[in-house]
């Protein structure tokens, strides 16, 4: 095992997992940050979405060694009190059903709004179509993103 230093939710940690371990399992099994979910292991469903320097990536496709000095943000670190505009909008629109995919959806949506504060419906659909929700809360996701976009302006 080798030691890899990473920064997760503004905390520095030293990880002794193999460097090719996907960040997903480092977060979940080593650090106990279980908000980031396993869904497919192939980057197909978006349930494991986290931010690297504010940009959405699939943690299941991100080897530990590739993280370097980039700051990792997980759902637990998006805000300390559900106050991120996306989280507030998710509550207002009552988006989640089972809720399993929602941390990934929220991290993807937060990354979208950071880049594009006023996305059109088409831009929302394009940015969010890598994230599967089997309960199919899609229209509430659209509404919540538009609501958050409105609040931010």
């Amino acid at each position: 095992m080798s030691n890899t230093a990473i920064t997760v939710n503004e905390k520095s940690c030293v990880i002794d997992d193999a460097p090719d371990t996907p960040l997903l399992w480092v977060l979940r099994d080593t650090l106990g940050l279980t908000g980031t979910k396993y869904g497919c292991g192939l980057g197909l469903c978006g349930a494991c979405t986290v931010h690297l320097d504010g940009v959405a990536v699939r943690a299941c496709q991100t080897p530990l060694r590739s993280v370097g000095t980039k700051r990792i943000t997980t759902i637990e670190g998006l805000s300390s009190d559900r106050s991120h505009p996306i989280q507030r909008a998710w509550i207002a629109e009552q988006v989640p059903q089972c809720g399993y995919c929602q941390p990934g959806q929220i991290m993807q949506a937060a990354s979208l709004l950071a880049k594009n504060p006023r996305p059109s419906k088409e831009e929302v659909d394009e940015a969010m179509s890598g994230n599967i929700c089997r309960c199919a809360t899609y229209q509430r996701i659209r509404r919540a993103i538009q609501r958050a976009a409105g609040q931010k302006s």
């Binding site: 095992m1 997992d17 193999a18 371990t21 996907p22 399992w25 979940r28 099994d29 080593t30 106990g32 940050l33 279980t34 908000g35 979910k37 396993y38 869904g39 497919c40 292991g41 192939l42 197909l44 469903c45 349930a47 997980t74 759902i75 637990e76 998006l78 805000s79 559900r82 989280q87 998710w90 509550i91 009552q94 988006v95 989640p96 059903q97 089972c98 809720g99 399993y100 995919c101 929602q102 941390p103 929220i106 929302v124 659909d125 394009e126 969010m128 179509s129 890598g130 994230n131 599967i132 929700c133 089997r134 309960c135 199919a136 809360t137 899609y138 229209q139 509430r140 996701i141 659209r142």
Partner: protein, 741 residues
């Protein structure tokens, strides 16, 4: 230990298919002695009038929820029902999942869209019983007349003097009172409802936006290990030999050992378990296993071979005649104008976002289980049976589930987790990878239906016959659960509930009707899938009504309304939802070019009509733009919950209509993950509009309602847009590629 009253199979079938009304399952008011015993050790100042409610001296109100939370809202509708009668502020209630104490909680399960209906009266009584006792306590404390006291917003008021005591202040006195019989308390009438019928926010949503909601896969206990199992890819095959040497060299691996398949009832498939210090290490080590399988007798099955057999079964003599009103076969034989059509839909997986998993810790005198299950008390029962531990030494924590759709009514994955954990001293979480989950599911049956209809001289329907062929759930080669194959294949009630429910045309008034059934063999395990048989029977029935309407030169809405002209209350409810959906969707006004509207309706304890608006692109791809749904589910306890379930069910079914299909080759599933089993994504999700019919009738379920209507609504809309009949799902774009709008 009080023996568990097992859920009777027939009762389950009834609830799972809504052929019976509300069924009260496992509802139990424990004796005071038992409750006091449980309270010891905690604060003595807790009022526990029944097993579902605790009120503390500092005004903490805790509701214990019987039904699992799978996304359908049990942790919201249950406290709503209790708060309504308890007369407390909604925000003052805390929610906990009820524990597996077999002598007290006997209904820790949900299925068949039955959660709201089965708890509506019992849970209101829970609140009412407590309220009445708190009022009595206040009257006693004040030495006042009971009729001068009234419960109001977490307090009791003495009306003549306007004195007030909070529920917390009444806990001690109330705890000393004799229990009031909950069946003798009066319940509110709907016009007085304060919460029921209002769209309240879900109690679990905050935890689902900050990552704190803990699903089965998120269980973390000290020193736990992580495991996966390599299973035989061929249904009916088994492990022949394996070499663990390379796997054992993967860093972090703790153990590699064979796991035998458990007998039919448990339906585990056996294989080789790999236990490691992380999930990733277990997955890597599994890849390094050298495995030799005995492919078994089913390895010649392919989707094509199964289809050949099924098509033959559609023409063969019926195994079993389900309904025979009038003389449909004779009228059809003599009819001058008749129609025949074949409808088909394939195996479907549940593909819940959270794959199957369970965590088990086997200790000397206790087994602790954390499972995302729809059926916690059965998991407890089965693991007790397997292990030989007494029931009360098997503790099952029912975690949140990341979707279910019928899959988590099986206990195979919990039994497997116990098989692995009993070999280890530490707790073990068994995870199914996405590939395991996609390839070892219990699938929605493959089905094929032949429908025939005769049109009389005046354009009315004189006869209808339906042959249903399925790879049955009853008699499934692996699945036995409630239906105890193979003898259930001779049980008309089981066949009705599991295989053809939804195919009956009543209350459409057609004088001659026959429905019969023939099973087909397959090695593929089958089970319930959101809306069970209605997921295919309603597709065929509602598409065929549409075909007959067009053959008679009639508008499909008016044609249905005429078939529903009878005086039965069900026909009236159905006319109402049809008219509401039609009005809301603009039925009868010309569609924009290239678009078409399609209609379908469903009758049962919940009635609904659905209209889909679609277009078809040059490549033959169908886009569903909008779905309008009218729902009559009695009292909509949480209208926003009804809307959410309907939106979700419609989009869930759309996967099976547009893209999703499980195919078989060499007795194994060909698909493995979301690249080859394509699930609906946001870019193809329609806007869904839900219109709820106001009602004061008892509530009925909606979890599956939208799912059964979407396929025929879309298929009928495609016909309206392109003049091509879709009779097989998922829709093949080649069928529509050269069609004209």
């Amino acid at each position: 230990m009080v023996p568990r009253s097992k859920l009777d199979r027939r009762e389950f079938l009834k609830t799972s298919t809504r052929t019976a009304g509300a069924l009260i399952l496992g509802f139990y008011f424990p004796l005071r002695g038992q409750m006091q015993e449980q309270a010891s050790g905690a604060s003595a100042r807790i009022f526990k009038p029944n097993a579902w409610l605790r009120i503390t001296a500092d005004n903490q109100i805790t509701v214990l929820v019987e039904k699992p939370e799978l996304g359908q809202g049990s942790r919201t509708y249950t406290p709503m029902m209790i708060a309504e009668e308890l007369e407390v502020d909604w925000s003052s209630i805390h929610v906990e999942q009820a524990p597996t104490i077999a002598s007290v909680y006997q209904g820790l399960r949900t299925g068949g869209s039955g959660g709201v209906a089965s708890t509506f009266t019992p849970m209101r009584k829970v609140g009412a019983q407590a309220r009445e006792m708190l009022v009595s306590a206040a009257a006693k404390q004040w030495q006042a007349k009971r009729r001068d006291c009234r419960a109001e917003n977490g307090t009791v008021v003495h009306i003549p003097t306007n004195r007030r005591l909070s529920y917390g202040e009444l806990v001690e006195v109330a705890s000393e009172l004799p229990l009031i019989n909950p069946d003798e308390v009066s319940l509110k009438v709907p016009k007085d409802f304060r919460y029921i019928g209002k769209p309240l926010p879900r109690t679990d949503v905050p935890s689902k936006v900050d990552g704190s909601a803990a699903f089965g896969i998120d269980v973390r206990v000290p020193e736990m290990l992580f495991a996966v199992i390599a299973r035989c890819p061929f249904f009916g095959g088994k492990l022949q030999s394996f070499d663990p040497a390379a796997a054992k060299t993967v860093p972090g691996v703790r153990a590699v050992f064979p796991v035998p398949p458990l007998p039919r009832h448990f339906n585990t498939r056996g294989g080789v378990a790999v236990v490691a210090r992380s999930t990733w290490a277990a997955i890597q080590a599994r890849k390094a296993l050298v495995l030799k399988w005995d492919n078994g007798s089913g390895s010649s099955e392919t989707t094509a071979s199964l289809r050949n057999q099924i098509v033959q079964r559609a023409a063969a003599p019926a195994t079993f005649v389900a309904v025979d009103r009038g003389d449909a076969l004779e009228v059809l034989a003599g009819a001058t104008k008749k129609l025949e059509a074949f409808y088909e839909s394939p195996f479907q997986p549940h593909a819940t976002m959270e794959p199957m998993n369970t965590t088990v810790h086997v200790r000397d005198k206790e087994i602790e289980v954390w499972s995302p299950t729809q059926f916690a008390d059965e998991v407890q029962d089965e693991i007790a049976k397997l292990s030989g531990f007494p029931l009360d030494q098997v503790i099952v924590h029912m975690t949140l589930s990341g979707g279910s759709f019928g899959r988590r009514y099986q206990w195979d994955y919990a039994a497997e987790a116990w098989q692995v954990a009993k070999e280890m001293e530490k707790p073990v979480q068994l995870l199914w990878t996405r590939e395991d989950d996609m390839q070892h599911d219990f699938y929605r049956p493959y089905n094929y239906q032949r429908l025939s209809g005769a049109i009389d001289d005046r354009g009315g329907l004189s006869a209808w016959s339906t042959r249903v062929v399925t790879t049955p759930i009853a008699g499934s080669n692996l699945y036995t659960g409630f239906t105890e194959s193979p003898e259930t294949l001779n049980d008309p009630a089981a066949i009705a509930a599991l295989e053809w429910y939804g195919a009956d045309i009543a209350p459409y008034s057609i004088p001659n009707f026959r429905l019969d059934y023939a099973p087909a063999d397959s090695v593929v395990p089958r089970s319930w899938w959101r809306s069970v048989s209605s997921s295919y029977t309603v597709f065929a029935r509602e598409c065929f009504v549409d075909e007959l309407a067009h053959a008679s030169g009639r508008d499909p809405l008016q044609f249905r309304l005429d078939l529903l002209a009878g005086k039965s209350p069900q026909a009236a409810r159905l006319r109402a939802v049809l008219e509401l959906a039609a009005k809301s969707a603009g039925w009868g006004t010309p569609s924009p070019k290239g678009r078409g509207l399609g209609l379908a309706c469903r009758f049962g304890d919940s009635c609904s009509a659905q209209i889909a608006e679609v277009s078809v692109d040059d490549g033959g791809m169908v886009q569903v733009h909008r779905v309008v749904s009218a729902v009559d589910c009695g009292i909509a306890v949480n209208p926003d919950g009804v809307r959410a379930m309907t939106e979700g069910a419609i989009n869930f079914a759309l996967t099976a209509v547009l893209t999703g299909e499980i195919t078989i080759k060499n007795g194994a599933v060909e698909q493995s993950n979301f690249h080859d089993y394509q699930v609906l994504r946001i870019n193809r999700a329609p806007e869904v509009e839900v219109h709820i019919v106001p009602s004061i009738e008892e509530p009925s379920g909606v979890g599956e309602l939208g799912a059964m209507l979407l396929p025929p609504a879309v298929a009928n809309a495609v016909f309206a847009a392109r003049g091509v009949r879709v009779r097989r799902l998922p829709i093949d774009p080649q069928l529509l590629k050269h069609s004209q709008s």
